[in-house]
């Protein structure tokens, strides 16, 4: 029983519509806009109106987040696209290529950690000098997304 046809421009979406179709809250969309990840046009009365392409852009943001890319980097990446254009297939390929590398590193770090953990089964390990878990050679962090209070050590 939905009817919202008094919209002048039928190809635009309201913030509520984008939120529902993209699967996130309207507050998140406003937040992304404040961080420069997305943009919006306004109708006469100041309400946001989005083109269909925004759904793809938001989808890309969500995938990048699942990969573990912080919003700031996602914003940087998206800002390399020609002025606000909807990402094309080759845009997406370029972005995902870059992100795949980081993802592989994360997987590698976690896998190494698991292997070290496996190597420690019942060894009564965690010795000060010899335990690889306690003396990680890879200082590079396995940290996922989220707050790390500036020092990911």
């Amino acid at each position: 029983m939905k009817m919202r046809r008094s919209n002048t421009d039928h190809v635009t979406l309201t913030i509520g519509e984008v939120a529902e179709r993209a699967g996130l809250a309207t507050s998140a969309l406003r937040f992304y806009e404040s961080r420069g990840l997305i943009r919006s046009n306004r109708n006469a009365s100041g309400h946001r109106r989005y083109a269909r392409g925004m759904l793809r852009r938001v989808a890309i943001i969500k995938v990048a987040q699942r990969i573990g890319i912080p919003l700031g980097e996602i914003a940087d990446a998206l800002s390399t696209l020609p002025e606000g254009r909807t990402p094309t297939a080759s845009d997406w390929q370029r972005l995902s290529d870059a992100w795949r590398t980081g993802l592989n590193e994360r997987i590698g770090t976690l896998t190494k950690l698991r292997d070290q953990l496996d190597g420690c089964i019942g060894c009564g390990c965690l010795s000060l000098e010899s335990c690889p878990l306690r003396n990680p050679a890879d200082v590079a962090a396995a940290a996922g997304p989220g707050a790390r209070a500036f020092d990911p050590n």
Copy 2:
């Protein structure tokens, strides 16, 4: 040129010593104590004194963190140990067994994500209906440690 031998009890460590040997800040140790992850004895003037075993306990906390276990869960796990005892080899085995499972899940989630990403190279994907990246079957999150503001969707 270090000399600190006026300590009555030579087998205890000050908070500064634990911090240095464990590789974290004194503020972090106090914070862990406030969260119930570690305990301390106090000397006559109220300064913290730790037994050697604390180093192993802190090492376990650090490994668990690398695995991606939030401090709250680490605290729960450690609290299953008999009253404040230094974790033994079998304690460690039990704890790491539980944590390994979560670690493997995380690795699995990220690996699946990477494979989906690989399957999308140049496909111009992210289609509303058919893209597995856009419609992840596994609602379970790939989220690492860190703030997720209560809704890990």
